[in-house]
């Protein structure tokens, strides 16, 4: 019952108006404590205008740097995916704890909430998978009257949400998604 409520709320949120339509992504700015530890500040001035501040939170600073440098590449990959794949209306790459990493979403959608909800749904889906002995979760599909929301993992560090219209052919769509997820997992190293 809880799961059903969460699904319906997710679908409801997709119709909500967003306050910001910009596609700018920020990692949290350095706090007083970690500013002195900051190694360098990487600024990317392409059309996505991403400014990235390294934090001292990463498992290893080099892998974090590599991830950060690839964010603009990820943004491009996502943009290409939406543009070139028929029936795909939007896509978001999200951290497992619900923060947006990169996204190409219709302007009326709230990126932050979409990211948080995707993380919630995936975690619950995984619990269902394990508690009901369904095995590892390949994908979670929310099939609404007006379209699909599909979630897949991209390695252990990211979750991909794909929004598709109801005219999409499931089989082909799932294949495209699998392909892009593999590509993204590689980029994330």
């Amino acid at each position: 019952m809880l799961i059903r409520n969460i699904f319906s709320l997710l679908l409801g949120a997709f119709k909500r108006n967003s306050t910001s339509s910009e596609n700018t992504k920020y990692l949290p700015p350095p706090t007083a404590e970690n500013k002195s530890d900051a190694e360098e500040i990487i600024t990317e001035d392409d059309q996505s205008s991403i400014t990235i501040f390294p934090t001292n939170i990463s498992p290893t600073n080099t892998s974090k740097k590599r991830t950060m440098i690839n964010i603009s590449m990820l943004q491009d990959v996502l943009q290409n995916f939406v543009t070139s794949t028929p029936d795909v209306q939007g896509v978001a790459l999200v951290s497992p704890d619900g923060l947006s990493l990169a996204s190409v979403l219709p302007t009326q959608m709230d990126e932050e909430r979409t990211a948080a909800m995707s993380a919630s749904i995936l975690s619950l889906g995984e619990r269902i998978g394990s508690e009901l002995s369904r095995g590892g979760v390949e994908r979670i599909v929310v099939e609404g009257e007006k379209g699909y929301g599909i979630l897949v993992g991209c390695g252990s560090e990211a979750v991909l949400l794909v929004l598709a219209s109801s005219t999409a052919k499931q089989g082909l769509l799932f294949l495209e998604i699998k392909r892009i997820a593999t590509k993204i997992t590689e980029l994330l190293g």
Partner: protein
């Protein structure tokens, strides 16, 4: 079997998941993920959907405990979980005054949906920088004595302390006439 549904909410790192883990009869249903934002500086994992635990209170009474995520981006979960709960424990972190406005936000959110019996549980009271219960009451806007929820210190790691808090809340719940 009578089931009482309790919501446990509060700011990040205050002890919601810990509290449910401490007291639940069953293995807790958790949705923990590795934290990647500011949360990571205080702990490794964070709740991204909900915690669910259960405590058999009396032969015919069970408490179902629902824990919310702490971060504001998951506030849709507060609404989902709160809808069907009958009482709330709001945990407040005595050594994080920065989190008080956030706790106030949660309080306002709850008040706007429905009035339910509530208990304020103050955690980290053993910390040297801990703020007093009185000051917390003031910070949460409970200045007049009318309908102030009970406020007690709680150690989410200690079974006896958690039980005391739940007992107090259940008492409050029993006092309230049934609304429908």
């Amino acid at each position: 079997m009578e089931i009482l549904r309790i919501l446990i909410t509060g700011s990040v790192g205050v002890g919601k998941t810990t509290m449910i883990r401490t007291i639940s009869d069953l293995e807790v249903v958790e949705t923990e993920k590795k934290a990647t934002d500011e949360t990571a500086s205080i702990k490794e994992t964070t709740t991204v959907a909900l915690d669910f635990g259960r405590l058999i209170f009396a032969p015919n009474q069970a408490l179902h405990l629902y824990g919310t995520p702490g971060q504001a981006r998951f506030d849709f979960m507060w609404e989902i979980l709160f809808r069907r709960t009958e009482a709330v424990i709001l945990l407040v972190d005595a050594h994080s005054p920065d989190s008080f406005p956030y706790s106030l936000q949660i309080l306002e959110f709850i008040k706007n949906i429905k009035q339910v019996p509530m208990l304020i549980g103050v955690t980290h009271t053993d910390s040297p920088e801990a703020v007093s219960l009185n000051e917390i009451e003031k910070a949460l806007g409970f200045t007049d004595n009318f309908s102030i929820p009970k406020i007690i210190p709680v150690n989410p790691n200690d079974k006896a302390s958690v039980t005391e808090a739940l007992l107090m809340l259940v008492e409050e719940l029993m006092k309230t006439p049934l609304e429908e």
